[in-house]
């Protein structure tokens, strides 16, 4: 652990310095640019050659990705485990839906409100995390998740009770394709924030706190402030994911935010995608949702009625098995694949293997 402290996730400038001798040739850059353009074109082709509802599924995948990135901030960066993310997402979703349909504000105001309230609830939970350590804090998040699911989200004044709270999409973006654009923009913003966060002083401080709060404090890192900061960031991401979730479904009810439907799948996506591996997380969110979409079609070819009826469950169970295998054999998850590609795109030579990700120690949490 001490070795990683000496070399925290390297800031871009430092990396550029070390790799200066191996800068890609113009042809190399062209290849990289070509790959990016090709990926973008394939995405666009997919969106426009398919019916609208496929875009709706993509929007769901983007929401899942943002939610999993939120969990990644807690588990991956701050070393805190959350098993109550249904509360995080639900608070954002119901806040946004309430602001849109009860306060008659625009979707965008709802999105911002969802992000703020999502951040605030996370900071309050963070205050508890400062006092309750490690594994025990996981229990607090679990209990908090159930308070959201069973109490707050069923409170009719706030959430509409059984009828749910409508969350119409913004004008001009009511179709699935147009709404997907909003989700993609939000994901891009979240990814950019996350990227800057990790590369900044805050990111290095968080890593120090994650490795050892005592050592970090000795180096002058304000452990309390950075822990709360991480909770706030995670809550803001979750709030954004929740607000997007609400308008993707256009109506949200308490039963949308259960432990089995939100907390567990989000955790799987984070773990299988790879802790601290943005690319892996986004990729697996996509795989997770598209798996549910296409598995029935595949099963139809195989005439397997069981899989057609149970696609969602099959994908979830398979992903759970993948999560266990990831934890045992490959703590970096899909990040093992995406990270080298990401580095290559940024101009480094292609080297397979992990660096600065979950690494061999996998998850770590304050004792």
């Amino acid at each position: 652990m001490a070795t990683t402290l000496e070399r925290p996730v390297e800031p871009p400038s430092a990396r550029a310095g070390t790799d200066r001798g191996q800068r890609p040739s113009p042809a190399g850059w062209a290849a990289r640019g070509g790959v990016v353009v090709a990926l973008a074109l394939i995405s666009l082709l997919y969106v426009f050659s398919n019916k609208e509802f496929r875009s709706d599924a993509l929007a769901a995948a983007v929401v899942l990705a943002i939610g999993a990135l939120s969990l990644n901030v807690l588990v991956g960066y701050a070393g805190q485990i959350s098993l109550g993310h249904q509360a995080f997402i639900g608070v954002g979703a119901f806040t946004s839906a309430y602001v849109i349909s009860q306060s008659n504000q625009s979707f965008y105001v709802g999105l911002v409100a969802g992000a703020i309230v999502g951040g605030l609830q996370a900071v309050v939970l963070g205050l508890v995390a400062l006092r309750v350590r490690g594994l025990y804090f996981a229990l607090v998040t679990l209990a908090w998740g159930f308070v959201g699911e069973n109490s707050i989200f069923r409170s009719r004044g706030l959430t509409g009770g059984g009828a749910g709270q409508p969350a119409p999409r913004p004008g001009g973006f009511t179709t699935d394709r147009a709404y997907l654009l909003i989700c993609v923009i939000a994901l891009t913003v979240v990814l950019l924030i996350d990227w800057r966060l990790v590369a900044s002083k805050a990111g290095r401080a968080l890593q120090a706190v994650r490795e050892s709060p005592q050592v970090a404090a000795n180096y002058g890192v304000n452990v309390r402030a950075y822990t709360l900061f991480a909770f706030g960031v995670s809550g803001v991401y979750a709030g954004i994911a929740g607000a997007l979730f609400a308008s993707q479904r256009t109506n949200v009810v308490a039963v949308d935010f259960t432990f089995a439907l939100i907390a567990l799948p989000y955790l799987i996506v984070t773990v299988v995608g790879g802790l601290r591996r943005r690319g892996g997380i986004v990729l697996f969110a996509l795989v997770y949702i598209l798996g549910q979409q296409y598995l029935p079609d595949l099963a139809k070819h195989l005439h397997n009625r069981f899989i057609i009826d149970n696609a969602g469950f099959v994908v979830q169970a398979t992903s759970g098995v993948l999560a266990i295998l990831t934890l045992i054999f490959q703590p970096d998850g899909l990040g093992t694949v995406t990270a080298p590609i990401g580095r290559w795109l940024k101009g480094e030579p292609f080297v397979f293997g992990s660096r600065g990700g979950a690494g061999a120690e996998g998850l770590s949490v304050r004792p």
């Binding site: 209990a143 159930f146 069973n150 069923r154 567990l264 934890l327 996998g362």
Partner: protein
């Protein structure tokens, strides 16, 4: 306080609490022996209920045999979790193992849903009848059965840990793993035994609890038993078996009291899910004020 109900929630709380206690003892056993938080425990419970349902309604076994099937389902799940998930992660950080046990629940819940769909399963009681009238409310035979099961399990475990070589070896392992191995105790065996016992207790709770409420749903062990059982274990200090026993009863009663009476408090008339709020309050309260629990020696 006018209008407060006491007797009825007391009965519900005792019976539910006994089931929480059974699961909590399993959590404590595992925590004592390997410092792992077992988030798969809830699904041991669901599998117990599921096994009974499959045994009695699908295979049409006589009810007592179906109950045995249920307990076996739970035990098998405990053993499989140890062998396939926990043992390969032996040298990893405990939080990795925690996430892995949660992943076991992630695998099991959709499996139950695939077989059973998102709908409730009927659960018929082992003994029919109204029961005995105590304090003006009736205690059903099923509720008495759960309390009996908890008492017998506690006595059995006390005997096991106090009187048998294997039990003493397990205790020794939890206190001094390295020294235990040096004197010839096989840690893997002990670990398997602990998880099997936890699975057995969870399965037993799953066999006994659903008939009280006449039905159960896929994943109910994780969504409505797990957090209560953990809170019970934390109340008892996480390492104390009698603590988990008492903690279970306390949590059961607190939850039932909250469920029946919180809406009579001013301003909380319309608060949904008071039992979930009560759990959070108790859990955070204990962890902040007295992290060693009520009966525990160390946390």
């Amino acid at each position: 306080m006018p209008g407060f109900v006491v007797a009825q929630p007391l009965v519900f709380g005792l019976a539910n609490g006994a089931a929480f206690g059974l699961v909590a003892i399993g959590l404590v056993l595992i925590y004592k022996s390997s410092r792992v938080f077992n988030f798969a425990a809830g699904e041991f419970v669901t599998l117990g209920a599921f096994g009974t349902y499959v045994g009695s309604s699908v295979v049409k076994l006589p009810y007592p045999l179906a109950m045995v099937v249920g307990v076996l389902f739970g035990t098998a799940a405990g053993l499989a979790t140890e062998r396939l998930v926990v043992r390969p992660l032996n040298d990893r950080p405990k939080v990795t193992v925690l996430v892995a046990t949660a992943a076991v629940a992630i695998v099991l819940i959709p499996f139950e849903l695939m077989i059973g769909k998102v709908k409730p399963f009927p659960a018929r009681p082992a003994i029919h009848g109204v029961g005995v009238k105590i304090l003006g409310v009736y205690v059903s035979p099923q509720q008495m059965l759960i309390m009996l099961a908890l008492a017998l399990s506690a006595i059995g475990l006390a005997w096991f840990f106090g009187r048998t070589d294997l039990g003493l070896a397990t205790l020794a392992t939890s206190q001094e793993p390295t020294a235990s191995r040096l004197v010839g105790i096989r840690l893997n065996r002990i670990s398997l035994l602990t998880w099997g016992t936890a699975g057995f207790l969870g399965g037993l709770a799953g066999v006994l609890l659903p008939p009280v409420t006449s039905n159960f749903t896929a994943g109910f062990g994780t969504t409505s038993v797990l957090i209560s059982a953990f809170t019970a274990a934390v109340l008892g200090g996480m390492t104390s078996i009698p603590g988990a026993f008492v903690g279970g009863i306390v949590v059961g009663i607190v939850q039932a009291m909250a469920q029946f009476n919180v809406n009579k408090l001013p301003g909380l008339h319309d608060l949904p899910g008071p039992n979930s709020v009560a759990i959070l309050v108790v859990l955070v309260g204990v962890l902040l004020v007295r992290p060693t629990g009520i009966l525990g020696k160390e946390a």
